[in-house]
């Protein structure tokens, strides 16, 4: 019996004909080649370019710059620190406010209240909208002649600039970004919650546990894998953030973010390859969450 299975195994390994081996190489090779050429090679090239001066036109124009681009960013670039601060605030707000709110909403909707499917759809709706559309929608709310200014009694003639006001624009932008993020987190969390046995909750409640105790002692521990994933997604999303701000301002000067600086220095002033250096800084910041994520999802395979 034992020999039979081993011989079967060797046969199936050997039985790969030439055609089969060719098919398999093509199956793996073509997608991998595309992935390497358009993703990994450019990523490595960007890291290299971040140590050079280059206008991007002829390869022979590349000049070695050492760490000069980074030096310029760290020593002479006030926008960089502002961007770091904004990304930090973004991250803190998402971790402390938006993500918990998404979880809270998921938890409450999961009680099976009347019309929950309808409510869920409403909360998910911003998730399927593009950031370009989201930018336009919120412009209608906030711009001169928009809804909010109308409520404040300001007609177009004496409107104020909400986006341009540095005292409030951070919070407005974070609010709009949360509008989308909360639905996303809720969606992810809700599907996890559906797998928690409701009898567990009920039993605890009958034993006199408060809602908060049930959430902390029963829901959170059972949802541990989902929790970690959500935290990692929140981290990565906060570091990557910029589409919305780009749509609203078009330039990084009013509300700088790391990603926005990469984009501006890529499109605008290619000479120094400062854009590449910004991209590398962003990568360094993203590496810990990325590795954490990979370690979680490949936990079994890596053993």
């Amino acid at each position: 019996m034992k020999t039979a299975t081993t011989s079967k195994k060797t046969r199936s390994r050997r039985s790969l004909s030439k055609t089969d081996r060719f098919t398999l190489s093509a199956f793996v090779g073509i997608p991998t080649l595309l992935q390497i050429l358009l993703l990994w090679v450019p990523a490595v090239v960007t890291i290299f370019l971040s140590f050079t001066y280059w206008n991007g036109i002829r390869l022979s124009d590349i000049r070695w710059a050492g760490i000069q681009n980074y030096k310029t960013i760290f020593l002479n670039e006030p926008l960089f620190y502002e961007a770091l601060k904004n990304n930090g605030v973004w991250l803190a707000f998402f971790v402390l406010v938006a993500t918990p709110l998404g979880i809270l909403l998921a938890y409450q909707v999961d009680r099976g209240i009347k019309g929950h499917a309808f409510y869920e759809s409403i909360f998910y709706l911003p998730v399927v909208l593009s950031l370009a559309v989201i930018g336009i929608i919120w412009n209608f709310m906030l711009q001169p002649g928009g809804f909010v200014q109308g409520l404040m009694g300001l007609d177009i003639g004496n409107a104020i600039s909400i986006w341009g006001n540095p005292d409030i624009n951070t919070w407005v932008i974070l609010g709009v970004a949360s509008w989308r993020h909360i639905g996303y987190i809720m969606l992810l969390y809700l599907s996890g919650l559906k797998s928690v046995d409701p009898a567990l909750k009920e039993a605890a409640a009958i034993d006199g546990a408060t809602e908060w105790q049930i959430f902390r002692k029963i829901i959170l521990p059972t949802m541990k894998p989902v929790n970690i994933i959500i935290v990692v997604i929140t981290l990565i999303e906060s570091l990557r953030a910029f589409d919305l701000v780009y749509i609203i301002y078009g330039s990084p000067t009013i509300f700088p973010l790391l990603n926005l600086l990469v984009f501006q220095n890529f499109a605008g002033q290619g000479l120094s390859m400062k854009g590449a250096a910004y991209a590398v800084i962003l990568l360094v910041l993203c590496i810990v969450p990325i590795i954490t994520y990979l370690r979680i999802v490949f936990k079994e395979d890596l053993k």
Binding site: I30, L34, S130, A132, F140, G145, L302
Partner: protein, 295 residues
């Protein structure tokens, strides 16, 4: 026994009261949530002049689809929507095809490089996209010039499609391979014993089994690729070739003085993904959760 029933009843009554209270709260929250969208729809149904002369909250004198008709005519929306379709449909099909190939090989054959490949794809999906802008941009231009046609990839749908596929295939490969692990190996074994070659094993045996996961992913991928707009801004120099999501950014600048028209344009641009979401909601949610909660 009876006391237990009484506690149960008391618990259920308490829950009911709580549920009622929470429903009101959630309902209010949901209204706040959807209000900006409703306001945009409302704006899109009214003529601009009316708002100028009577104010933002004026009683509507006429409600119609004129703005939509004008948006389609003036903004050339149909052309942009067509561009979106030209880019999105092949991108989604190729992404799913490549993703399923990778998933098929790494879960059905025991090669040493399997885990490396899967890690390469999954990690690639998480890289900050901006890390690749500069080289990809110049690579496309150079390769085009090498073949004597600058617009082979740059400023061409083909380039945009390839970039989308390269970025999304990692997610597809990851999701499909975790789905494939739930399909029993015996099915593959019997296929091999029956003499099916690798291609038939993939095409006739595995692909049909992957159908639910492919359906879920295709909805999600369509939404993501349709909504993506930075690559189109970077790689498409002709505005007339840009997908609608990217074109909106320019239209926003151009029609800033007639925002009722812009509202209609934005609603039209949002419709494809919103309709897709309402029709295939289950698949959309399944697609997102397949990828993120496999812990």
């Amino acid at each position: 026994m009876s006391t237990e029933m009484a506690t149960n009843k008391r618990y259920r009554d308490k829950q009911k009261r709580k549920d009622a209270f929470i429903s009101i709260f959630i309902g209010f929250f949901a209204f706040v949530w959807i209000f900006p969208i409703l306001w945009t729809v409302w704006t899109s149904l009214r003529p601009y002049n009316e708002i100028i002369s009577y104010g933002i909250f004026s009683r509507p004198r006429s409600l119609n689809f004129d703005n939509y008709v004008n948006a389609v005519k003036e903004m050339e929306i149909a052309g942009y929507l067509l561009n979106s379709a030209i880019v999105t449909i092949p991108s989604v099909i190729l992404t799913l095809f490549f993703g399923s190939l990778i998933a098929f090989v790494v879960t059905r054959y025991k090669f040493k490089f399997n885990l490396t490949i899967l890690l390469l794809f999954t990690a690639g999906n998480m890289l900050p996209i901006v890390l690749t802008y500069i080289p990809v941009f110049w690579m496309f231009i150079w390769v085009g010039e090498l073949f004597g046609n600058r617009n082979m990839f740059y400023n061409n749908y083909a380039g945009l499609i390839l970039v989308h596929v390269a970025f999304q295939v990692g997610f597809a490969a990851f999701v499909l391979s975790s789905y494939m692990k739930t399909i029993p190996k015996e099915i593959s074994e019997s296929a091999t014993i029956d003499g099916a070659n690798v291609f038939r094993h993939y095409w006739n045996v595995i692909l049909p089994l992957l159908r639910p996961a492919l359906a879920a992913l295709s909805v999600l991928m369509t939404t993501w690729i349709y909504n993506e707009f930075f690559w189109a801004l970077v790689l498409m120099s002709d505005d007339s070739k840009r997908p609608i999501t990217s074109a909106l950014r320019r239209l926003q600048g151009q029609y800033v003085t007639d925002f009722n028209l812009l509202a209609a344009g934005a609603i039209i641009a949002a419709l494809p993904t919103v309709i897709l979401f309402f029709v295939l909601r289950k698949q959309f949610i399944a697609g997102l959760t397949l990828g993120s909660t496999k812990g």
